[in-house]
Amino acid sequence: MARIANAAALAAYRKQQRALRPAERKAIAVCAGTGCKAFGGLEVFEAFRAALDAHGLAKTWDLRATGCHGFCERGPLVLFFPEGRLYQRVKPEDVEEIVTRTLLGGEVLERLLYQDPVTGARHEKEHDIPFYRHQRRLVLAQNGQIDPTSLDDYLVLGGYGGLVKALGMDPAAVVAEVKRAGLRGRGGAGFPTGVKWEICRAAQADQRYVICNADEGDPGAFMDRSVIEGNPHLVLEGMLIGAYAIGASQGHVYIRQEYPLAVERLELALAQARALGLLGQDILGSGFSFDVHVSRGGGAFVCGEESAMIASLEGRRGVPRRRPPYPAAQGLHGKPTNINNVETWATVPIILEKGADWFAAIGTAGSKGTKIFSLVGKVNNTGLVEVPMGITLREIVEVIGGGIPGGKAFKAVQTGGPSGGCLPAEKLDVAVDFDSLVREGAMMGSGGMIVMDEDTCMVDVARYFLGFLKFESCGNCTSCRDGLEQLHALVTDIAEGRATSGTLDLLEELAETIRATSLCALGTTAVNPVQSTLRYFRHEYEAHIRDGRCPAKVCKALIHFSINDKCTGCTLCAKNCPQKCITGERKALHVIDQARCIKCGICRDVCKFAAVDVQ
């Protein structure tokens, strides 16, 4: 591939590539995202390759391994273009039949279509499935269509068009366009992106940096991973536009080391962009020069905080520092630095391409555009969903997510990652936007959305998040390091039945000091899980303390297992008990030795007769 000298040459190259693959051309897109891969997506891809070869169809059908389509729950997913037909839970042994009956015979294989768990209806087209139908996909739009290892795929769909447009504008006008679009940072706090750029651009300096925060640390969030793995050039194009607007010549992507595939895809995209002249000196003949370096994080949640990330990029311990000075004035190596997260950068090319007005028409007054959520936990349709801002939690959980599995009752939805909040059923009609969520004691965060059902204990949830955060605290501030450890100990006391009537008071008093006096956002928001569960589920705490009872039957110290008379004496529980503390004759009622039982619950899982009770 030769270096492309200017915008006209890029347009010519794009035209040439488009001619090679007309839109009506038949294509098979096998999802090779992390979820589908784990379900055997690559084996399905290989099976297709072999079957297409065997049937002499390799020239009539394009076969692509794409990034994440979002509907991870039903993987491996296979999409057929141009119809948009979706087959789900495809196994390699299905492929031969798909080729002969669907590709050659034009027949639809009912059993591979998505079936609505509630209505039982089958849907043939991807866009008819409720999971997809209610989404508005901008950032994820191309994920199911392009091979993320192919720059040409991206160019055919109009890629780098936003950059071309930006390079034709004055940098200040690019900033103004992003400001006018009302884009707010997708990483957590929701700071207006254009304003952030403007401040950084205004700082006097010989060198400025842009950083892409891909240190997606919130457990339960994987949208950034999927965007980089599925469409790396979109992120890169956003960074290029931002760098041009701000006047930065060097960029960094700070990416989690737990995401090896994303690192690989990104490195490949950078090499492709360099080869084509979309990175490097004098990009597209505009005089603008820029390059990007990939840095792997070391595995520290706190490095998602801007000043800690900069410390890590400088080779130091990821300890946040007091701001001001803000990174926009004194950031990486003391130079003005602008940090945005993956989803924010990936939204920028769309704004440039379609215009600020088009973008600002989506969403609410204060929160424009779309937001990607990872909808996970106790929900039928697990996966990545991109929705317009302002949609209600109910629409996401019940319509897109398809409700709670196993006929269980919804209890809470946790948004905003470990330092977010848990909202109860009566808040399901809250609009999902930056300000509404904060008002209710939760937050947007980077977009994790964890659904919890009646079997989830909110005290256990609070304890879980505190355990995570005390481990992830950098350890600098007394209030965060020691405060979270003590808060965790107090919640553990409650979960284990040791708490007294004074425990909740001390808990609340301590939580307030941690919130008010810690240096960075990790500490100041770390108490949200406790404060929000206390706000909406105080009765669960009280049941643990006053009655020594865990209503969800989760907290081990407060429950015990016993075998009822439905027991048929099949001995399965006794065989599987890790403690060997279940005794009983074959075909006779079995008994659990309470003194030795560790309450692992395996007996209850394996019992086919619902004979194990938990109280």
């Binding site: 992390t34 979820g35 891969k37 784990a38 379900f39 991870c72 729950e73 993987g75 997606e216 640390g217 919130d218 457990p219 339960g220 969030a221 994987f222 991973r225 999927s226 080391q257 737990e258 995401y259 840095s295 792997r296 994080g297 070391g298 595995g299 520290a300 890590s312 990029l313 400088e314 080779g315 130091r316 311990r317 990821g318 190596h333 990872s374 996970v376 936990g377 106790k378 697990t382 996966g383 946790q414 470990p418 994790g448 964890i450 919890m452 989830t456 949830v461 879980y464 998040f465 995570f468 481990f471 950098c474 599987n576 890790p578 560790i598 692992c600 619950g601 395996i602 899982d605 394996v606």
Partner: protein
Amino acid sequence: MSAQAVIDPAELDEVLARHPQGQPAGLVNLLHDLQAAFRYLPEQALERAAEHLGLSSAEVYGVATFYEGFHLKPRGEHICTVCMGTACHVRGAARLLEQAERDLAVRAGQTTPDLRFTLEQVNCVGACALGPLVILDGKYHGSMAPDRLSRLLGKLSDKKGSK
């Protein structure tokens, strides 16, 4: 023979040569490359890294122990990682970890004395739809259950027979 003695000095030189000298900003990336070469960060490698980048041993040690991704002790032949992300947690990840702890007779973060297995936990790998998730030697196993995990671990430990 101590585990410290087995690192290949030529390989160490080769990794260091890929990183510019005297640039402390490259520390985290250098540590990643050293760990990729030796599967953990031997003391000798940390000392050489310090020298190479112009840092003190204390600074390098402080950084290496700060980040969860770095291992200062030799790791097992097989690595079993239990995802403890939120989605996996609400789907019962704690029970998987307990099962693995029982089966391998080590606690999370430890390596069996025969260096066959290391048991680790991770705070989400972003494969939440697969939860609860266990990663065995880099391969993702979704919708895991304690008994299935036991069988998988059993299969691995039988493979070469314990020494």
